[in-house]
Amino acid sequence: MNSVSSANDRPVVSLRNVYKSFGALKVLQGVSFDVRRGEVTAIIGSSGSGKSTALRCIDRLETIDSGEIEVCGHRVDGRIDDLKALRLDVGFVFQSYNLFPHLTIEDNVTLAPRAAKRLSRPEAQKLAHQVLERVGLLDKIQAYPEQLSGGQQQRVAIARSLAMQPKVMLFDEVTSALDPKLTGEVLRVIEDLAAGGMTMVMVTHEMGFARRIADQIVFMHEGQAWETGPAEILTSPRTDELRQFVASEF
């Protein structure tokens, strides 16, 4: 927090006029939005509106055709010289958890801090204890992913990402594969992170949750950030498209 104020005011994530096509399919058609430090941004919209693609572009899991993306001071568009520096700053949680099935929960969490940050084993293990305690799964530390429920696996995936101490975390429909009860336990973890001041961008279908914790809503429609604003836009939308979407979701 002792960095100069201009660095603090700068958005953590910034998309400007981003275009992306998969072959003939135009997925992103000029997306622009900013994510400020310590804020939670929820990206909503119907399927096919480009939500997940926009999120994946932020971590350069997809390359973009044109436009600009800046993440934690890294230029993500065009040629990128230090992909690793970007990945060290950005955490990503997937819908399908993607835990490493051949490793215990502890090793899932310690792998990246040890391999990518060169932490010693004891340091990484200490870190693993902290993050697993935070998601309430310290007792599963020696288990394997297949022994855990979907909700528990997703909480481990969040812990695994947290252990890298990212500056921003991206969540890609992380509760879509879970039943309501398991969804609840994952959302509580995310809420706890939000309360701790983590900068987060989440693609979600949980409209109630988005309204409760999001500082900013990005409603995507036809490959654009159609309407952007505080959570209040969900109750009083400016555009017909968002009004229709909200009506269909609640």
Binding site: F92, A112, A116
Partner: protein, 224 residues
């Protein structure tokens, strides 16, 4: 001359069988090492490596092992490189096995879900770390049953080394038969010995496959 099968002949055959095992190990270790490089090259981001390894696989898979052995053992001396039967057999088996096992392993590496690569990527692991710490450990589990199964093929393929005069099981049988003229009994014994070497591996492969199948089933029912 004209004597019947006796204990000395059996000892001689067993001695040949030991060399069959030895040659199989050479083929498997050599072919495995080169095959691993072939597998990695086939999925390399470098186009030149992909093309070169792809060509290697195509050429070797389209060439009989017998011709490969002739080429090395009889061909090389004509350009001034003399080579022992063991070396000729070992090298040609290595070249041959690498082309097949490399393809088996490439398939196993590629069958690890793409999301595993992605997850490792978002955790800032380098490509090499992603390969060795995340993908290969999972690929090895997938690769074990077909690899053990392929070892059976390798054991049988070593019998071709007899054509360059290397005395393994098949060749030792030929030698004995040349002196006692009992082809039926001699080759029957040889067949039994090959079977005894191959059968445990076939069984093991099938058991590993069943276990892997059961594991896959579990994961499937869990995620659905």
């Amino acid at each position: 001359m004209g004597s019947s099968l006796n204990a000395n002949h059996l000892v001689y055959l067993l001695h040949g069988a030991v060399w069959t095992i030895g040659l199989s190990l050479i083929a498997f270790i050599g072919g495995g090492a080169v095959g691993f490089l072939v597998a990695l090259s086939r999925i390399s981001p470098l186009r030149a490596l992909r093309l070169a390894s792809g060509a290697y696989v195509q050429v070797i898979q389209g060439t009989p092992l017998l011709v490969l052995m002739f080429l090395l053992y009889f061909g090389l001396p004509t350009i001034g490189i003399k080579i022992s039967p063991l070396l000729a057999a070992g090298v040609s088996l290595t070249i041959y096995v690498a082309a097949y096992i490399g393809e088996i392993w490439r398939g196993c590496i590629e069958s690890v879900p793409k999301q595993q690569w992605e997850a490792a990527e978002t955790l800032a692991l380098t490509r090499t770390q992603r390969m060795f710490k995340v993908v290969l450990p999972q690929a090895i589990q997938i690769a074990t049953p077909p690899t053990v199964g392929y070892m059976v093929q390798v054991i049988k393929a070593t019998s071709l080394a007899s054509v360059v005069g290397f005395v393994e099981l098949a060749r030792s049988g030929q030698i004995i038969n040349n002196s006692i003229f009992e082809p039926f009994i001699v080759y029957l014994i040889i067949a039994v010995l090959y079977f005894l070497m191959c059968y445990p591996l076939s069984r093991l492969s099938r058991r590993l496959e069943r276990r892997a199948g059961a594991r896959g089933q579990e994961e499937f029912s869990f995620s659905s």
